[in-house]
Point group: D2
Chain length 165, copies 4
């Protein structure tokens, strides 16, 4: 997802993208290279047998469960677990979810979810996900969320906003 702007290279540290950028760099020899360290949050996981289907691969619906796990781990690592938000009477609600499936995952495969914040507004936040099995890209996804209190959308609580920013 590296983008070239005004002679600069802005890159994310995704394995593949980073390589691409570096390769492109040497090809095009830009004047300055700035690697902006928007580090992906990385969540590692192994495929369980009950997550497979009769095609022998992970059922597509389970990826959305993996992404939920990754979000949970992200918030916990940042010091504000989702259970804490819930204890304050708030819920994170999903507005939108999409996934582009490239390759399947099989039983016992280990994979990494590389998660990044895509967009942050006062009321919504969007994560993007890249699932890798080794170097192989499995799927690309996005989820958009808001925070709800007593059934009403509220502005994102400060603590969450600070974590996401």
């Amino acid at each position: 997802m590296g983008t070239l702007e005004k002679g600069f290279i802005i890159a994310r540290r995704d394995k593949k993208d980073f390589k691409n950028v570096v390769n492109k760099t040497f090809a095009s020899i830009p004047s300055v290279i700035i690697i902006i360290d928007i580090m992906s949050f990385i969540y590692r996981r192994r495929v369980q047998f009950y997550e497979t289907d009769a095609q022998g691969v992970v059922h597509h619906s389970n990826y959305f469960r993996y992404f939920e796990e990754a979000r949970g781990e992200f918030l916990r690592e940042r010091g504000f677990p989702y259970s804490k938000l819930r204890s304050l009477g708030m819920e994170v609600v999903l507005l939108n979810a999409s996934c582009e499936y490239k390759k399947p995952l099989f039983y016992d495969d280990t994979f990494e979810i590389h998660m990044n914040l895509e967009e942050l507004t006062r009321f919504t936040f969007t994560f993007s996900y890249k699932v890798f099995k080794g170097e192989e890209l499995i799927c690309i996804a996005k989820t958009k969320h808001c925070v709800v209190k007593k059934g009403k959308i509220v502005s994102i609580p400060k603590e969450i906003y600070e974590i996401l920013r």
Copy 2:
């Protein structure tokens, strides 16, 4: 599940059992035959693709979900849906579950759950289940439940007791 007591035959209307009883009857010629009509509640269902696993069969955990569906349908048909019980602040809680797996179910298979009340006390009720695919017995199971209100076990509400009796 036919049992012979004092020259009587007490039979349930399960396909197989009933046949067995009738066969046994003609063999042993008891003085009196009483078919006690404890009709099984029958719930029909088709296997969904997402319920299969990489062995190509329904994952064992999903049978407990099928039994839950059957219980829900049973209560609804009897005029007291579980959602009504919940709206009164009560929950049905599972105490015990067991299943003996005989044959697998495959994608797109249709099957029947034959459900019977096994035991009813003031505080608990136990259902038994036989899953059939045509004449083939797939599995036999039991679940034991109680009713909880504000975190405490309460005696089974009259309305439910009447339905179960």
Copy 3:
């Protein structure tokens, strides 16, 4: 999804859309109204307890399972069940899935999935879904698929193509 072309109104029979078209019709008074009966395939379902989560609503991942059920029922009704395709050594593979969540579904809710073919090429087909609880729109979704034989994408088999067309 009604579109106005050359004085004609072409409408789908989705509840809401139909209303919109009719309203628009009276506003704009076109010369002719033709309701082209691109009937949605409608799949009816009830929410099971095990499909809910601790927010008290259907977990978002389960909608993709509902859509799979709807596709299965659609193919079966058209006389070419998915299990038949599998017995010919073919699999339908998901390429893309997206869902926009508007309102939640609760335990015991009944809902309808209105399913339409959005796009059909030699190699791919795309379905769109609208989930309704009564008149209330719950979510809008799309899934894009291809057919795979021995690990390779093949052109959509004639029998499926005819059904979809």
Copy 4:
């Protein structure tokens, strides 16, 4: 699961049982105490949000999935992952499963599964499970399995037998 036989105390190292045994020991002062170190295999896990239901607790069906995870981890740790068995054309098939539910698990809870081999024959093996949340006993379960090759039950492969023994 401590049992008193001929003046000996045979105990497993389960937290609670061990305490009970030690307490009982001082009370009854047996001549010899032998702690047979049948160490439980311990599998640690956190509850995911999608595993909860509208009662706010882990859905009962998911415990059987947790046990499957524990078995998978056990085999992997012993150097013979289940995927290896599958690559040899064999499958582990579940014959029996039962669970006694004592206390619920909630979202974000961490828990331990203490797993032991209960029985080993030429054709079958049975595991028992105790799920703990801290010191609190959540549930007790058993699963009985056999190994199947080309649809037929076969004697347990040597490699698995050695691991289990």
